[in-house]
Symmetry: C2
Subunit: 224 residues, 2 copies
Amino acid sequence: MKDKYDATKYERPSVTVDVLLFTVEDNELKVLLVKRDEAPFEDSWALPGGFVKMNESLDEAADRELSEETGVRNLYLEQLYTFGNPNRDPRTRVITITYMALTAKSEWKLKSSGDVKEAKFFSVGKLPKLAFDHTEIIKYGLQRLRNKLGYTNIVLGLLPGSFTLTELQRVYEIILKTKIDKRNFRKKILSTGLIVASGKKLEGIAHRPAMLYSFKNKKVVITD
Amino acid sequence: MKDKYDATKYERPSVTVDVLLFTVEDNELKVLLVKRDEAPFEDSWALPGGFVKMNESLDEAADRELSEETGVRNLYLEQLYTFGNPNRDPRTRVITITYMALTAKSEWKLKSSGDVKEAKFFSVGKLPKLAFDHTEIIKYGLQRLRNKLGYTNIVLGLLPGSFTLTELQRVYEIILKTKIDKRNFRKKILSTGLIVASGKKLEGIAHRPAMLYSFKNKKVVITD
DNA sequence: TGTCTAAGTGTATAATGGACACATGAAGGA
DNA sequence: TCCTTCATGTGTCCATTATACACTTAGACA
């Protein structure tokens, strides 16, 4: 910002946003990928994303790109990191600001937007070969997600409005790849005061029905 | 990245890096600012920074901008966050990737580079009115620094090669704005095994001389 | 030799984290 | 009706970690 020159005189890079949309399904942590419809990396899987428009903020660009793929807005969305190595895109200089988004699987449907061939969730443990540096980006986001599980209530982004404590515990276990003690987990979670019990689970389960809980507040906060 | 169009057809924003260089001096946490030499915000103080060149990575751009101001390379440098609201720069769309850098005060000299009028450290508690959204950027970086003090040995970036435990403790106290118990602090710091004693302090101090310590390894790591 | 000043050191108590096992409630079939 | 099945739901003990707290020591200087 200290140049003596008009900003427009500089050669400018392209700027994109790429979004990691995580969900938990079938006992696996999954991330949304789209199949590319053009070179480079045509027919490769890649993160959903696209160019930032001149009159939208970065957060707005991420939300827009995400909603073009999923049809849902206002998911939990946080900026992750900006990747800008000169050769990460073979066409030209492209700097990408990456975002992490979270959703409960049940809460939306994939929408086939015109400009990709296909959109699909992949288990983070079984990713295909990806376009650009997207494998590295996912690795970074996964690390961030795991860290934040430990000191925030970010997990609320992955759960529906009401859930049992066992379901909540499973989400932690799947993402962190650990077994957690049921009693200790409940003590800790309930001691935060962030979740609250409602009525019981009803539908045909052949055993004692679990209490349903929900988050008092849908805001992500630091819990310790 | 999923567009059907050539990237070059899009109107492109300008991209800069801005660097927060923190140091501790005179019992205060300070940040380096430069006085702008041109519109907009001519004569306002701002963070050092500048345009990203087409063939350098973001980390390289930050390191270059920093060394243009300070004459020192290879300080501790980490990417913070990317700010890109459409109106943050009145000239045109400018997206800035911000970095945090740390230095021990003694280890370098300000170099007057040609394109700013003046460069000076300001206490983070007494900042002047700043150009652009730089006040917000500093607030963000300060938060990150405080958080990272708690779970990493990032403090090593603010200390010279050898230091006493009292000096180390003072740095924590200044940044966190808390009093820390001397015995508990020493127990905790030494239990990490990351710092090691050397010889004694010599020069004319009229009381018991303190042991000098240094970090075994200059890498920043997570300590808990 | 006494004074000054910061360095250096240990223990007791409170809080937190982790390990661990059995009774309960609803469904469904005999 | 009662017996089986299965996930739910609950408490205590122990280990580790965090916090509060005060006096002696080493060197400089007069």
